[in-house]
């Protein structure tokens, strides 16, 4: 029996003339995520994408797991393909539904007939298919209010399908339809979540990671690669730019007032990331900052960091509580990696009492005295790049 996956599109069906572009990008993204699972025919009609496996050894569980991670999909379901022939539907329904019904007590049949030329009306289809299932499994009962399993029969223009249950997709918009942005990724809980949330709004990502060997270890970088790999399941492949900050951090430590260490470092990160964004054609920076979470994330501190960025800075977590962020991070499976205990460069040389209300003018003066510009240029020139793919 031939089984396929039916995908219902998200809010992009609302888009006007751009709609075709959005659909094309989504199909490309789906193809990319399924690329190592086998050959598929993927087509679109009546705002539904159909994924048809081209060989028998393809595992649809794996296919569904991947589709469940692609942005731009509201719901999806596995379905059995039938001839547009009532007898074929009646014959296949009990066989296909057998698995889903094996431990169920109650069920109901729903029918949708979008092809009105099909000679049987929806209630008639439901009644007859229901009757067939009842006679195949006499222990089952029909319950239209709260059934264990819903068997859906769909008669469309180009074919008929039987489904048992629908799965929820990630929602959002296809990655790439909103452009490219650069995420500052540290290895903590917040930045992978911020990356995920902006990818959900259709942004393709590249990433900047800062390290300070020997103060930070290789394990810290491997941890970030692992986090990005997990994010790439949703966001597609990510170019990771690793920048070494050791010399700059040591210079700040030697030449600047201690309470400004953190804010000065954040500004350096913004400057370098803006430049990398410029070079890679990215239109914005993304950070995992959440208002008031730490000293560098007070409104005043964010104001000082923002002034160093030459791109718009997107902060999707700005109004969220830590627990809300953790919940998302658990859901997207980055939490357990994030809490692995490796030093990152933000915790090197942390001041005892960081300034929570820094004043931009004084920060800029301190920065000027430190004479960091040349070192920033050197750090950018020494950037290493690695592509992280799901």
């Amino acid at each position: 029996m031939k089984e396929i996956v039916l995908i219902k599109l998200g809010e992009m069906v609302l888009k006007g003339l751009n709609r075709r572009t959005f659909e094309d990008v989504l199909i490309k993204n789906i193809k990319y995520r399924l690329r190592d699972l086998g050959k598929f025919e993927i087509k679109i009609a009546q705002s539904t994408i159909t994924v048809i496996p081209q060989s028998d050894d393809i595992d649809l569980d794996d296919v569904c797991e991947r589709i469940g991670e692609v942005f731009g999909i509201v719901t999806y379901s596995r379905a059995c393909v039938c001839e547009k022939d009532f007898y074929d539907i009646l014959e296949k329904a009990p066989v296909y539904a057998a698995d889903a019904l094996s431990e169920a007590k109650t069920f109901k049949v729903e029918s949708k007939r979008s092809d009105k030329r099909f000679p049987y009306k929806s209630p008639e289809i439901s009644a007859q298919v229901g009757g067939k299932i009842l006679s195949a499994f006499p222990r089952l009962k029909v319950d239209v209010k709260n059934p264990d399993v819903i068997v859906t029969v769909e008669v469309r223009d180009y074919g008929a399908y039987i489904r048992c249950g629908t799965l929820r997709g990630q929602g959002g918009m296809p990655v790439g339809t909103s452009g490219l942005a650069t995420v500052l990724i540290s290895g903590g809980i917040d930045s992978p979540v911020a990356a995920y949330m902006m990818a959900k709004r259709g942004l393709k990502l590249n990433a900047v990671h800062f390290e300070s060997p020997p103060y930070t270890s290789e394990r810290a970088r491997l941890k970030v690669e692992k986090l990005l790999k997990q994010v790439s399941r949703y966001a597609g492949s990510i170019e990771m730019h690793t920048v070494e900050l050791t010399k700059i951090q040591e210079t700040i430590r030697d030449r600047c007032p201690e309470e400004l260490f953190t804010i000065l470092l954040r500004r350096v990160m913004m400057k370098i990331s803006s430049r990398i964004a410029e070079i890679t054609g990215s239109g914005a920076l993304i950070t995992g900052e959440s208002l008031g979470q730490v000293a560098s994330q007070t409104m005043y501190a964010l104001g000082c960091t923002d002034a160093a960025a030459s791109k718009i800075v997107l902060r999707p977590l700005i109004g969220m509580d830590k627990q809300e962020i953790i919940n998302i991070s658990r859901r997207i499976n980055t939490f357990e990696t994030s809490i692995e205990p490796y030093e990152d460069c933000c915790t090197v040389f942390t001041p005892k009492h960081p300034r929570t209300k820094p004043v931009l003018r004084f920060v800029e003066m301190a920065e000027h005295e430190a004479q960091l510009d040349e070192m920033i240029e050197q750090a950018i020139a020494a950037t290493t790049v690695k592509t992280i793919a799901p």
Binding site: D61, E65, S102, E103, S217, E218, R219, L222, N333, E336
Partner: protein
């Protein structure tokens, strides 16, 4: 057939253990001589060893369609089974005391359950039918709201009978929502599709040496959120569920063997061997087949009328054919597995297990058939 030294071997005891495949053996050698760091060390040696362990974890997680973080490594199937039985029983003891295991479990589950019974838990044994498959209606009657743990093997080690673990999982969730479900999949791993997470299985045991990797390593799938009280205490390794420095050579070798296993391709080949053997076996007078038709093709359990298992085993050994009498772990004892299927004592005492691997060929089966025929001709004469 493959050659060790000058002797031709027909090794048909692959459910006892298997030859280690070259890629796994080479990986183990490399991990012991070059990449020998302690995976917990902070320096490069530690990181490199850790990366190999993580690579193996990912291979095993992929084979089970689960997240790598839900896999921990143990010293083998027995340790994994003990970890779940004692660990889950203790974690859930406030919710109830009933533990259900099937009547045909491997001794590492069976004996653990017996010990838990001595400790005061209420142990129930779920009976099987004549095919060795668990009786779902009778299982339903055993499942109560005081049930905390159910353990059923995926494939029986003596007969190859496949248990309907997915359906059992659904029944447990409905009748005993507090209970956790453990599946011992040692004989099934890399031989049939296993999807513990999708099926609703909380714990799953797998072992390395049944799939061409070394002895001394196994793995346990633990569903995200499922609780276990550890058996061992020590360092921070493996989320403290299984402390102790990981055996990087064995684990990395395990990973290589899993990567090499191609379920679909192997099954087609083993099915072919099984069909070939079945045709020849059923043509011999006095041989009856104990494995059900629905069994995993890797195992065929037979009885040879009137000849004790061990006698036939040693007779076959003389012609270079290696099989086992019931399971290798229960030398000399009468098989409780075959007894639970309702076989007569005569059939049980004369039972032999033939088990295949991808390294077998039809010549091995020919040698077996010849050995059985000559055994029947000579040994029965001696008896009468």
């Amino acid at each position: 057939m493959w050659k060790y030294g000058f002797m031709d071997l027909h090794y048909l005891d692959n459910s006892a253990t298997t030859a280690v495949c070259r890629s796994a053996a080479e990986k183990a050698l490399y991990m012991m001589t070059e990449n020998f760091g302690n995976p917990s060390s902070l320096h490069k040696f530690g990181i490199n060893a850790e990366l190999c362990i993580e690579d193996a974890r990912e291979a095993i997680a992929d084979a089970l369609s689960v997240q790598p973080k839900s896999i921990i490594f143990t010293s083998g199937g027995t340790e994994a089974n003990n970890t779940v039985l004692f660990g889950a029983a203790e974690a859930l003891k406030r919710r109830g005391s009933r533990i259900i295991v099937s009547a045909v479990e491997h001794s590492s589950v069976y004996e653990s359950a017996k010990r838990l019974g001595e400790m005061g838990y209420d142990i129930q044994y779920a009976p099987v039918d004549s095919d060795g498959v668990i009786d779902l209606e009778q299982l339903d009657n055993l499942l109560t709201d005081k049930t905390i743990l159910v353990s059923v093997m995926a494939v029986n080690n003596e007969t190859g009978s496949i248990q309907p673990t997915e359906r059992i999982a659904k029944r447990i969730k409905r009748r005993s929502p507090d209970a956790v479900f453990h599946v011992d999949a040692v004989q099934a791993f890399c031989k049939m599709p296993l999807k513990p997470q999708k099926w609703g299985v909380d714990f799953m045991t797998v072992s390395a040496h049944k799939i061409h990797a070394p002895k001394g390593v196994g793995a346990l799938y633990i569903r995200d959120g499922a609780r276990l009280i550890p058996l061992l205490y020590g360092g921070e390794q493996q989320k403290k569920i299984r402390p102790g420095t990981e055996s990087a050579p064995l684990i990395a070798a395990f990973g290589e063997a899993v990567k090499e296993a191609d379920i679909a391709k192997n099954n087609a080949y083993i099915r072919e061997l099984n069909d070939y053997a079945m045709t020849k076996l059923t043509a011999i007078d006095g041989v009856s087949i104990n494995s059900p038709a629905s069994a995993l093709p890797y195992i065929i359990n037979i009885s040879v009328e009137g000849i004790r298992s061990e006698t036939m085993l040693h007779h076959l050994e003389q012609s270079g054919v290696y099989v086992s009498s019931s399971s290798a772990c229960a030398k000399g004892k009468r098989s409780y597995v075959l007894a639970a299927m309702g076989l007569s004592d005569d059939r049980i005492d004369s039972s032999i297990r033939i088990s295949f691997s991808k390294y077998n060929a039809k010549e091995d089966i020919d040698a077996l058939i010849e050995g059985l025929r000559s055994g029947i001709a000579t040994l029965q004469k001696v008896r009468s």
